[in-house]
């Protein structure tokens, strides 16, 4: 955002997008080459090819662990979305509750939620239950905040207009309040979904009997580095896929909104 004119860039430099892919390519290359050439001990950095091969070789184990984790995520999402949605609706519709609770909740946001986890393992053991409740509540908070905001920000003029046209309470909820609140709620579901996913994996890493996080930790303690890296890639793919799915839903839910000019890509 400089105020002075810039001299034109010399033609020798590649375009920005090209540069990006070039650098990315170089990074992957270095990642592959460094351990193989002995610059970095392979036990610290496994080449991507080795990681992928290890994953393919051990496919069954990884698939089973992933399935186990997905199960935990699904149940945790039920808690985060279901409970979060209901509480968010109630808080959003009650001005006094809203004014009192929301500042409290945003203060609590500063606390690292992971500190609750040892309590849950003490109460529920290191099986799936502790993961589900931990991750469920981890995702609960953004869903509540977003739902409350969505309900609160419904344009009151639309409510007035619907009343003037004789809308019943049910019609008001279906025709006005839910569509108006939907974009905010869905963006809350997106963040909540991301936190729940990572919550499950992180909890598995700390103390578990099964799951992809548990597998990563196990491999680390046994110094099976390629397997560790594969596990991490798998989790990234999982989180990315979930986010893309919810992102699609979010876009569908916001189709009627005026689209902002492209601000750049994520």
């Amino acid at each position: 955002m400089s105020a002075t004119a810039r001299p034109a860039l010399p033609r020798l430099l590649p375009g920005p997008v090209t540069l990006r892919w070039l650098v990315l390519g170089l990074v992957v290359l270095a990642w592959e080459a460094a351990p193989r050439l002995g610059w970095v001990p392979p036990v610290i950095l496994a080449p991507p090819s080795a990681a992928l091969l290890a994953g393919i070789a051990d496919f069954g184990t990884f698939a089973r662990a992933l399935a186990f984790t997905l199960g935990e995520i699904a149940v945790a999402l039920l808690i985060a979305y279901g409970l979060g949605g209901v509480v968010g609706l109630v808080v959003g519709a009650t001005p006094l509750l809203r004014a009192a609770l929301l500042p409290l909740l945003s203060s609590v946001y500063a606390v690292p939620f992971i500190v609750i986890y040892p309590v849950l393992t003490a109460w529920l053991g290191i099986g799936p239950a502790s993961k589900v409740w931990f991750a469920g509540f981890y995702g609960f908070f953004p869903v509540v905040l977003a739902t409350a905001a969505g309900v609160q920000l419904v344009d009151q003029r639309l409510v007035l207009m619907a009343r003037a046209n004789g809308a019943s309470r049910t019609q008001m909820a279906i025709e006005v309040i839910i569509p108006a609140a939907l974009p905010a709620v869905v963006s809350g579901l997106r963040i909540g979904g991301a936190l729940t996913t990572i919550g499950v994996v992180v909890a598995e890493m700390l103390a578990a009997t099964d799951g992809i996080g548990f597998l990563i930790t196990q491999n680390r303690t046994m110094f099976r580095t390629p397997e560790v890296y594969f596990g991490i890639l798998l989790v990234l793919a999982l989180a990315g896929t979930l986010d893309t799915i919810i992102g699609r839903i979010e876009r569908r839910a916001s189709r009627w909104r005026p689209q902002p000019e492209g601000i750049g890509h994520g």
Partner: protein, 286 residues
Amino acid sequence: MTETRTTMEALRMDGAQLMAAGQDLAHRHSNAAAAEIEVKALTHRYAGAEGPVLALQDVSLSVPSGHFVGLVGPSGCGKSSLLMMLAGLVTPSEGSISIMGRPVLGPAPERVGVVFQEASLLPWRTALDNVAFPLKLRGVPRAEREARAAELLALVGLAGFERRYPHELSGGMKQRVAIARGFCQDPPVLLMDEPFAALDEQTRMTLGDELLRIWDRQRKTVVFVTHSLTEAVYLCDEVVVLSARPGRVLERIAIDLPRPRTWEVMASAAFGELRERIWRLIRTTP
């Protein structure tokens, strides 16, 4: 006395306008007995930030059927509140309102249509769906309500825009959709709360003419709140002037200008006099 003046005016006009004026007169005569809207001793208080506020004081009004009545007054005089009470959206502290002989106890969308200042269109629905919205609430089947909505959109000059979303429409177009929606259940009474306030002057004038054109076809009873004295005199048969808060009826000024209202009418001396009269009334009365 109003009829006499109108008849005199009629004698000065040429043939075509005579016809129109005659129709005008006949219409009013036939319904002169039944006051469409009856407001009696309306007083309204509400709880403000610093204690109770008296918004309207002892307002009484009767609007004959088929009249286009304007409601003007200084800011805060309660004209919008009065309209909200006519619409059944606000309950007055004291007094009574009846429309078409029935007391107003809540919104009555088949009898009373409302057009708001901000078009208040549902942003997630197309123009067609927005116009059809009141019919949807009533449970009218889709084919029927979409046909009616398409008809109305054509009436307000938006044929071809049925599938557009509000964010794709200009301010003037949005307000047209809102007007079409107001007409959709064909209510005998139409309440309009500064519907053109958010628009630029040229659009205001175009829409004003459009509104009169549509109104001329079916002569509903219209109560039109506006800040613009020009608009009030141009559009209305009668202008009710409210005082500053607490709002009281200062005067009901008959607008005897010939219909259809045109540029010439607006440029005439009579127009200017009427507007001046209203302005003086507002300005000098505390």
